[in-house]
């Protein structure tokens, strides 16, 4: 069909009570890091399960490296980390990694260095039952790195991880992408995705409502930049008048401006001289962008 690692075309899935996935289409290319966002029940996991061939789609077409989802060729090239995994508590991390290496047709010994990559070297010979949630998640991630997967699907890989482990996860994802793998991950932790993904897909109620790079999505959303100006005592009213309004709270004035007027507004503030003590500039975060697209979709519905 194409050179895309993953091609999803007008895919729909109905459950008895609702449309879980509704006419979703996108293509993922080699080396892309893509985040799939959506509220709980937006259809992310259902989409993952269709891509893996666990669920049959009602409509549309999916191809994984030009193979049918769930076919042997597709599975050989795909790695998957489910949302929550509880490995057999009686086995050690090393045993579990070797088990999955064998299932994937890899040499078990060659998979062991992956434990070092995810920071589990010291715990490798301990029972998984003694692992913390973060350690289990990292073991799951090590499993997804076995072999040379061309498509890596990660369902909320950073849930329950501390900030350093999260960073570690994104570093691993970056490495995978550099080797040409396509990484599709779903996440709730939006702010940490900034600068760590090349592209963002947003799902809402089964529909794909946004598909672009973050900067493009920002521009499309047209969300204002919020400026917060801290003033000298008693100068709040004066500053607010000079800047043409805004909300006053105690010693600060807040107002919104469009992206194009940002520099103009900042120079107006600096013209106020020593009436101003400090300025905070809040660019819309991924949270804001996400909320914008998600709300827009819900209003339409």
């Amino acid at each position: 069909m194409t050179n895309s690692t993953l091609a999803v075309r007008a895919v729909s899935k109905n459950f008895s009570s609702h449309k879980a996935v509704d006419q979703v289409s996108f293509n993922l290319e080699p080396g892309e890091r893509v985040a799939l966002l959506g509220h709980n029940g937006a259809g992310k996991t259902t989409l993952f399960k269709m891509i893996l061939g666990f669920l049959k789609r009602d409509d549309g077409d999916i191809s994984v490296l030009s193979a049918a989802p769930g076919s042997n060729n597709a599975r050989k090239a795909t790695a998957y980390l489910p949302e929550s995994v509880a490995f057999p508590a009686a086995l050690t991390g090393e045993e579990i990694l070797k088990f999955y290496a064998r299932l994937k047709g890899q040499k078990p010994k060659e998979a062991l260095p992956l434990l070092e990559k995810v920071g589990l070297t010291d715990a490798a010979r301990r029972r998984v039952g003694t692992y913390s949630k973060g350690m289990r998640q990292r073991l799951g991630l090590a499993q997804a790195l076995i072999g040379q997967p061309r498509l890596v699907l990660l369902d909320e890989p950073t849930t329950g991880l501390d900030p350093i482990s999260r960073q570690n996860v994104y570093e691993l994802i970056g490495e995978l992408a550099q080797k040409g793998a396509t990484v599709l991950l779903s996440s709730h932790a939006l702010t940490e995705l900034e600068a760590r993904t090349d592209r963002i897909l947003i799902m809402s109620r089964g529909k794909l409502v946004a598909d672009d790079a973050l900067s493009e999505l920002r521009a499309q959303a047209g969300l204002p930049i919020r400026l917060k100006v801290w003033t000298k005592p008693d100068a709040v009213q004066e500053v607010a008048d000079q800047l043409g309004g805004g909300r006053m709270n105690g010693r600060s004035v807040e107002f919104d401006c469009d992206f194009e007027e940002k520099v103009k507004a900042l120079s107006a503030i600096s013209a106020l001289g020593n009436l101003v003590e400090d300025v905070d500039v809040h660019a819309p975060s991924l949270d804001d962008v996400y909320r914008h697209f998600s709300n827009a979709a819900q209003k339409e519905a």
């Binding site: 399960k49 893996l52 666990f54 669920l55 042997n72 599975r75 050989k76 795909t78 790695a79 998957y80 980390l81 489910p82 949302e83 929550s84 995994v85 509880a86 490995f87 057999p88 009686a90 086995l91 045993e95 088990f99 999955y100 064998r102 299932l103 994937k104 047709g105 029972r127 799951g140 499993q143």
Partner: protein, 276 residues
């Protein structure tokens, strides 16, 4: 294909060892069979029958209860437990077919069961041989008992897999497994007995009852073992079974084999259709 089957089987055996499952099953079988052999062998002197053979007759009845129970406990969690824990999603996203997965599980569980039976019952046989109570025919009877117990175990492992693939929660599967055990091992026999007592000389007793026994793997197992014992009329609860049967006792063995194959195929079919 073979390496993936063996990988799954090895994992099951490893879990069995770590969970002390193998140990527990072995100890249970050893304790019960030793108790039966030592306490129940008193009449052997007067009957002039090999003590091993007598023990085999009692152990056949013990196996009917214990082996299905152990097999169901090993198997009920095999599919739905992995669904609950999320590991099945992970395993099935690897290039392993569903049948390979199931065969691997069955192989692993069968080996666990085999180990427990050979060691547990073997201890008893060994003790009897050492104390001079066993002969060559007794040992053959004993081997037949262990081999058919394994076959019976496979039947109930497969019943466990079927129940496990049909339910989404391991709690439900556990309840269903207990119900299956009660139904097939206890209530089925009681119902047959009741019908026999109600009308001992009717059509049921002569034409239906023998075949009804074939339709339950637990009963087929008991029938085959007792009929195969040369001294069954002396030691068996079902005295002189083989002469009164309208068919050869080997048919009971065929029934066991058919149940094992049929139930395993059914569970393979179910697991292929399920969504993890």
């Amino acid at each position: 294909m073979l390496s993936r089957v063996l990988t799954v089987a090895a994992q099951e055996i490893r879990i069995g060892i770590r969970n002390r499952w193998i140990l527990l099953a072995t100890v249970i079988l050893a304790v019960f069979s030793l108790a039966l052999a030592l306490l129940g062998s008193a009449p052997a002197g007067t009957l002039g029958v090999d003590r091993l053979t007598i023990t085999v007759a009692s152990l056949a009845s013990l196996s009917v209860y214990l082996v299905p129970l152990i097999a169901l406990l090993l198997a009920f969690d095999a599919v739905c437990g992995e669904v609950e824990r999320g590991t099945l999603l992970m395993t099935f996203s690897c290039p392993i077919s569903r049948s390979e997965f199931l065969i691997g599980k069955a192989l692993g569980h069968t080996l666990v069961l085999t180990f427990a039976l050979v060691i547990g019952y073997g201890l008893t046989a060994g003790l009897l041989v050492v104390t001079g109570g066993g002969s060559m025919t007794g040992l053959i009877d004993f081997s037949r008992l262990i081999a058919t117990s394994i076959l019976l175990g496979i039947c109930f492992l497969a019943i466990g897999y079927v129940l496990s693939s049909l339910t989404r929660q391991s709690g439900t599967a556990a309840a269903a497994a207990i119900a299956a055990w009660l139904l097939l091992v206890v209530l089925y026999d009681l119902a047959l007995l009741g019908a026999l007592v109600a009308n001992p000389s009717g059509v049921f007793a002569s034409d239906v009852f023998p075949y009804a026994v074939l339709l339950n793997p637990a009963d087929a197992f008991r029938l085959f073992n007792l009929a195969a014992l040369g001294a069954s009329d002396l030691v068996g609860g079902m005295a002189g079974v083989s002469e009164t049967l309208p068919f050869s006792p080997a048919l009971a063995l065929v029934s066991l084999l058919a149940f094992a194959a049929g139930l395993l195929s059914l569970s393979a079919l179910l697991i292929r259709r399920m969504t993890p």
